[in-house]
Symmetry: C2
């Protein structure tokens, strides 16, 4: 019998089907992957042992007797950690554990957005946030950034312009601490200015702090959530960058009236039990030692990346030395089209994020790209950048003389 | 400053906010919770140790190097298990690991349904499936059941009636093996008849087998997915009932063209790493011993429940002895309104599922209810049923003479 034709049964407006996974590319500069050498395997194993022996029987219930907000010891750890690091005063009942901050994005969008809505977003921003908004048929207005992140005057102008059109945006989406992709950390004064503008215009702030643990200097300014006096902020975060991305554990901090709305949209019966339990057990004893150690290893990889770029691309690759994170935002000469560069490079085993996928200003971002440095080892970073320079030289004549050729001649 | 008013920012048509969790009721006969005494804590701990030591470093990547379909050893176990138990011939690449079968429901609905669509569904069915469909503004047509599940003639009639109205339903949703709430197991001949009708009408079957491991007899008939010659079936399942509900691990088996569509809607970066890894490690060595042991313990609890009901309600409580599962579907005399009974009982610590929440035929289900027996221990089952009988007697005069009173007199 012929195979059933499902085509007429599919819902309208589905996103394109996912591509088949064929393993990671050899030089993998994309995705929020982390450094395999920094996974605290022994301590995680010990944590798994301890928590399973002590509380394993609670696996018999949905939510491990902690209810639908998530494993209570994890929420208790988070409340204490956010108080200490980000100045946030919240109770475990103000926290919803999610499947990574990705589900956080979906739940916040779910309670606030409808097709035709408008949101303000950093001009260069996380590609997955842009994809989600486009799929929701929500208009994005990009606001320029500088080395301190979102520019207050530009934000105010965007809000005034929208108000003149009778449009009130649903939120201002910002990644204030280790901005993706620029790496910028917004100063406390800048945050105060942004908050004042948001409050003056009566617009909520949606703050995404999923990279905020990875700051070379250790300390970071207080979160918007800590600074608001009007409770107009929703905060999301994650353990993906600070511990391991395969743990699908993030969190939302929000007022109970909003959290209960998001809970109603989280229809998956809770996030993974062992991921939550083992993380909580591990974090209580080890988070504060682990993160500086991880940051140091990441900083070293960043230095290898920046050195390799300078060596292979010379002045053709422009970038700021970011104060934290797992990625570098790079400008190449205007002649380079990073979308095409990305396609050609991928075919040769080098994966990168083309700028236009990470920006609301596709034209400005055409010659920009993001490289993630946490996953490849130092040698792979060097070899990958060399390969990329070779491809870029061949395709765009940039850098002017391939460092490879140079090296061969010397 | 006054608190920010989020009301005008909320999306239209949100579901009601989630209720605050205040712990489980004392006599908890609702939810897919399992028996704490049957959680295989030692073997799970050993599995966590083994897999973390061997593969812990893979936590550094999204998907533990297995790609977005889920942890490959788990999909390999599932492919072998489904072949052996349910006759399904599929490869690990035909399986998408999900956050429980709940996310499976959402993803299947996501690729197929749009507001105004119609689906066929068993007249008495999983309340969460009904809630989801109602939220999606999808019309449900209930098809009567008997002791073997969905009745072929009734299904055919429903399809003919819909065709006469020019309506082609998007799918036939069925729980063929341990039907929720009736517990019925559809015979192979019945499945063949249902499949023939679905194929004649050109309608897909959506088969939910999340309880299918818990069959007292051990063996079960082949799945629809194994029987179709036209590939018109989508299959979902779960480890929630066979191992532990707090593990948020279910799965979808579907044609690659459909699976890639669902993958595109699974925007949470994958399901919990440790839940997947520890389950896979545990299942390879222990699934086949564990399930019969668990089934035996559940069967004993079911017997306690049935005995308590007979003792406390006498002939007022009518039910079939189900061939598997974790719940009992009960008919009380017509005078009983189980929605009201449920409200009063909950206030006194007894939680139950009122029939109307588990049925498309609210009037017929008014005097019916579902009691889950896996979580409470034997004494709690007995005390809970006694309490329920007392409340029901007080509220509805049923059972005619309270067994409590009877007992006090004897």
């Amino acid at each position: 019998m012929a195979a059933f034709d499902f085509t007429p049964f599919l819902a309208p407006d589905l996103p394109p089907p996912a591509a088949r996974f064929n393993g990671f590319p050899r030089y993998n500069f994309v995705g929020g992957h982390n450094d395999p050498a920094q996974i605290p395997v022994d301590a995680l194993t010990a944590a798994a042992n301890a928590v399973l022996r002590r509380e394993g029987r609670t696996l018999a219930t949905y939510g491990m007797e902690s209810g639908p907000l998530g494993y209570r010891p994890l929420r208790e750890f988070l409340a204490a950690k956010m108080k200490r690091h980000a100045g946030i005063a919240c109770s475990p009942d103000d926290i919803l554990v999610t499947n990574g901050s990705l589900q956080g994005l979906d739940l916040v969008n779910g309670i606030l957005l409808a097709p035709g809505d408008t949101v303000l977003i950093e001009r260069d921003t996380y590609g997955g946030a842009l994809t989600r908004l486009s799929r929701l048929k929500v208009k994005t207005v990009g606001v320029p950034l500088d080395k301190e992140g979102l520019i207050p005057e530009a934000l105010d102008k965007a809000l005034v312009d929208l108000a003149a059109q009778g449009v009130k945006p649903k939120y201002i989406y910002t990644i204030p601490t280790v901005q993706n992709p620029t790496g910028a950390i917004m100063s406390e004064a800048r945050r105060a200015a942004i908050l004042k503008i948001a409050e003056a215009h009566g617009v909520p702030i949606f703050e995404d702090e999923c990279y905020s643990d990875l700051v070379w200097a250790g300390a970071r300014p207080p979160a918007f959530y800590a600074m608001t006096k009007t409770d107009n902020v929703i905060h999301i975060g994650s353990f993906s960058k600070s511990i391991a991305p395969a743990f699908r554990i993030g969190y939302i901090v929000a007022r109970p009236d909003l959290l209960s709305r998001m809970q109603a949209l989280k229809t998956d019966g809770g996030s993974g039990a062992l991921d939550q339990m083992v993380l909580a057990e591990f974090c209580q004893g080890h988070f504060h030692d682990h993160v500086p150690k991880l940051s140091k290893a990441l900083r070293a990889k960043l230095e290898t990346l920046m050195e390799s770029l300078s060596e292979r691309f010379g002045t053709a690759a422009e970038f700021d030395d970011p104060p934290g994170g797992i990625f570098l935002w790079i400008k190449l000469p205007d002649v380079v089209d990073t979308v095409r560069l990305g396609q050609v490079a991928l075919a040769e085993g080098v994966a990168l994020n083309p700028g236009p996928e990470w920006s609301t200003d596709k034209a400005r971002a055409k010659c920009r790209l993001r490289l993630c440095f946490a996953n490849p080892d130092h040698d792979t970073i060097r070899a990958g950048v060399a390969k990329l320079a070779e491809i870029c030289q061949r395709e765009f004549g940039v850098p002017l003389r391939s460092a490879n050729v140079e090296a061969a001649r010397s």
